[in-house]
Amino acid sequence: MRKVQDIRRYQGFFSMTLLCMLLLYGPLIIVMIYSFNDSPSIIRWEGFSLRWYYEVFFGLEAPKFKKAAFNSFSIAIMAATTATIIAVAAAVGMIRGGQFRAKTASFALLSLPLMVPEIVTAVATLIFFSTIGFVAGYATILVAHIVFCIPFAYLPIAARLENISSIYEEAAMDLYASRAQAFFRVLMPLMLPGIISGFLLAFVISLDDFIITNFVKGAGVETLPTAIFGAVKQGIKPDIMAISSLLLFLSIVFVTFSWFASRIGMKHS
């Protein structure tokens, strides 16, 4: 055992790992630290303060940020919910559907939003909405988000379902359950960790999206990322760092939940 350890070890890989972590976390941590800086200029450190967080919630621009936050969260909840429902159905169809002709094509279709570069999706969606006369606004953002959330919801759900044996639903059917009962009473509870994980990932993806939202948003509708982008273009200000830190914190919370949801599920099976 000792020998295996030695063979697997490579000089310098640990320092590279530390460097990688430093690269990934360094900028985020520094922004978080500076969001507590008690100075209107972001350059000098003038002591710890929560004033920029106060500014975000109660300052002059607070209504704008609150509205953007409301848009972001309501869109994320609706888009993630819809995408999750579609993804659950698709996962059952794909993984419990046996072999069928359209399977490869269906999989390609489901992963299409992951493969097309975001900017291309954004352009195509904008042109599409404009051609069919769908006026840009809140609804256009929601519809666009549902589409790209589907694969992110699908992947953890499908992964979970693959690990659940089909004997459960078959046993339910043998006991004269209807197909709907077999799904809602038996299979879905087993899939739940995967569903939660998929929902949370779709939620985070929707919450974070900038490029597509920026293209399809309508007059006067901002989400947090587009509001942050607009503000950052005029210079990085401390309140933007505070709001970024908040969003960062939220993403971390959701990803952590998603992570544990999927892992608790794994232990069960």
């Binding site: 309501s74 909840i77 609706m78 919910t81 404009s130 006026v135 007059a219 006067g220 210079g235």
Partner: protein
Amino acid sequence: MKKTLTFLSTICLLLGAGTALSAGKLSIYHWFEYIPQELLDKFASQHDVEVTMDTFDSNEALLAALKGGKLGSYDVAVPGDYMVEILHNEGMLDTIADGELKNKGNILPQWVDVSFDPGRIHSIPYQWGSTSFTVNRDDYQGDIRTTDLIFNPPAELSGKINVLDSQGEVLALASIHLGIEQCTNDREKLKQLNELVQGAKPHWASFISDGAKDVLVSGEAAVGMIWNGFSAKARAENPSLEYSYPKEGYVVWMDNVVLLKDAPNRENALKFMDFLLEPENAAAVTNFAQYTAGVANVGDLLDPEIVASPELNPPSDAPAGQFVQVCKEETQVLYDAIWTNLKK
């Protein structure tokens, strides 16, 4: 159960998003960092209107957005002089009938019969100012009153210049630098103009409008094209910045509030225009953006420091500024080509 809850909350949110709390709405398309939030809040509470504002950073971006399907979703926009004329030619402006604006009389006489909107039937004056450039005096101590600093910069400034991402103003300033007219069909002159900007481009670090102040304040740019009031705001954050009124000339402009065609809230748009014509409110914009209002009787309401600022008071030997001109289609396509060629 969980799903039912999610579903219910979704419905609630959907309903919540659909119903506005205020009686009416007003949708504004405005330049960035130009109007104080307090003033919008004041209008909102005075008229019980929900105000939303999107921002743009160049006249051309405004035009592109309206052409790209945003017409019909905004009530008012704030284009510069030449863009008012273009928007009018494109049929994108609504007409304000006689008597619809009760404060129309507050417009300063010299801004009533303007060439881009004679008699002010589509627009009201907002603020006016100039476009030139600002220099960080820590980086450059020489003579700054020449457009050479942008188009033919000394070696020490090369790579430290920011230019506005604004076709009209950049090409107008370049024409002023060359001493040629703005809408020329003369091939040789156009080639000269093209060569000038192409030759200057390697010296330019960036094309930034919305961050024009930030790049100067932070020291990323030593020279930056900028509007005079925005430069005054930059100077407040970094005292070594100095706005230049070049001897060759500079661009002047007047921004205007226009009533857009197919405005969803035409009534509120007119109320807003009336609101902005009140001296008190026009002065509030000036005190914020530090340009000059086009409304009478604002004098006593202005911050004296702004009125006396070097950005708003050209030196006595400075030439008069030039407005950006609207060219005919066959000429404009050539200027468009020069700009596309420059930006690519």
